[in-house]
């Protein structure tokens, strides 16, 4: 039991900054603390640190202006993307035959549909990445809480009835057109969950990691993450269908929109890597 508590204390100490983790665990070893004492001390310190973070307005800004709106809007975007792409995935995945590949018309349609599906997922992942980056940028201390809340909303939003509210606010009208697809539990329940997990939560976590690394290297301009986040929020709110290709809009419009929105993310990542490299040379 003692060893389990020490192991847990060591795991939970990962919530602390590296220097604090080193000092606190060292103090506990030196004092001859028991596993339960160590676990209580580490949890107590982590909780105090987390509470102290919320005394700063940046933490509340990150929660109110980034985590909350992004979780709702990305949930809606992921739902739309899943609803629009599920018929294509069903069409090719459930009805695939190698014989089709010999048909030039099929190959052309398949590549076209594949491109639009991949672009839609890329756009979703790009916006989620920007959300994660901006959350880490807003408040590093509060980012773990914000990401946990964000992920819970994404994963459990369906249980809380969020799709029904979203459907009323912005009906997609797709379910009726594709009843055969959505009659299957996989496409109705599991597929949207997979889209949210793979193309929203994973990119958000990657964005958070990049945001934390970039914070130390101080890329310029400082307002860029906020501008990128505001642009992504506005696009998600004002143009919810921009993720989804339509014959009228064309692939180029979607690709162009993604490049414009993802440019700040590329700039920030490249800037932070360059700054770290230069700092390494000076050292």
């Amino acid at each position: 039991m003692n060893q389990i508590c020490w192991w847990l204390a060591d795991r939970f100490a990962a919530w602390l900054a590296p220097a604090a983790r080193e000092a606190v665990l060292g103090d506990l070893v030196e004092c001859g603390a028991t596993g339960s004492d160590a676990l209580r001390s580490v949890l107590g310190l982590a909780l105090r640190r987390q509470l102290a973070v919320w005394a700063h307005p940046r933490a509340w800004l990150g929660l109110a202006c980034l985590a909350a709106p992004f979780s709702v809007l990305l949930f809606a975007a992921a739902k739309r993307t899943a609803d629009h792409t599920a018929p294509y995935v069903w069409l090719y995945g459930n009805n695939w035959s190698a014989a089709y590949v010999t048909n030039p018309a099929f190959r052309r349609d398949f590549l076209h549909d594949l491109a639009l599906i991949l672009l839609a997922y890329l756009a979703l992942a790009s916006w989620a990445w920007i959300a994660g980056f901006a959350m880490a940028w807003a408040s590093r201390g509060a980012v773990y809480f914000n990401v946990a809340l964000f992920s819970l909303t994404l994963l459990l939003g369906g249980m809380l009835g969020m799709p029904q509210y979203l459907e009323r606010a912005a009906p997609t009208g797709l379910a009726a057109d594709n009843d055969a697809v959505f009659a299957m539990a996989f496409y109705r329940v599991l597929f949207p969950l997979l889209i949210r997990a793979v193309f929203v939560i994973v990119p958000v976590i990657c964005g958070v990691r990049s945001g934390i690394r970039a914070e130390g290297s101080r890329p310029r301009p400082r307002l860029l993450p906020w501008i990128a986040a505001a642009g992504a929020l506005l696009a998600l709110w004002r143009y919810p269908d921009s993720l989804v290709y339509s014959e009228q809009d064309g692939l180029w419009r979607l690709l162009g929109l993604q490049i414009v929105l993802f440019a700040p993310a590329i700039w920030l990542t490249a800037g932070s890597h360059l700054a770290r490299r230069l700092r390494g040379v000076h050292l």
């Binding site: 220097a19 604090a20 080193e22 000092a23 606190v24 665990l25 060292g26 103090d27 506990l28 070893v29 030196e30 004092c31 001390s41 580490v42 107590g44 310190l45 909780l47 105090r48 640190r49 102290a52």
Partner: protein, 109 residues
């Protein structure tokens, strides 16, 4: 104005001088007050004192008795000494003439 616990940490760190770090400060406070001092409270208060400029901390060398982990060494700054002195004088002034202060110094009531 310092808080009571902040004053205890500053005084213990000043007394321990070059040997002031988390575990030793905690031990000194527990010995002096007879109360337990949680690591969480100690490090949170140390962070606050550092942000106010009353102490400076640095990571020391790792030692075997700490499982190869480094100490967070604490040094009281001139600003910290001034703040602790001010707190002590305020406590001394406000305590002057009260029964427990008089009995400690042997003055009859």
């Amino acid at each position: 104005m310092l808080g009571e616990f902040e004053y205890l940490i500053l005084t213990a760190a000043a007394r321990l001088a070059d040997n002031a770090y988390g575990a030793s400060i905690r031990e000194a406070i527990e010995e002096a007050t007879g109360r337990s001092c949680s690591i969480g409270a100690l490090y949170t208060t140390l962070d606050r004192l550092e942000s106010k400029g009353f102490v400076k901390t640095r990571m020391g060398d790792p030692t075997p008795q700490r499982g190869g982990r480094a100490r967070r060494m604490v040094r009281v700054t001139a600003k910290g000494i001034a703040a602790a002195s001010e707190f002590y004088e305020a406590v001394a002034r406000v305590s002057r003439g009260v029964s427990w202060e008089a009995s400690r110094t042997g003055v009859s009531q």
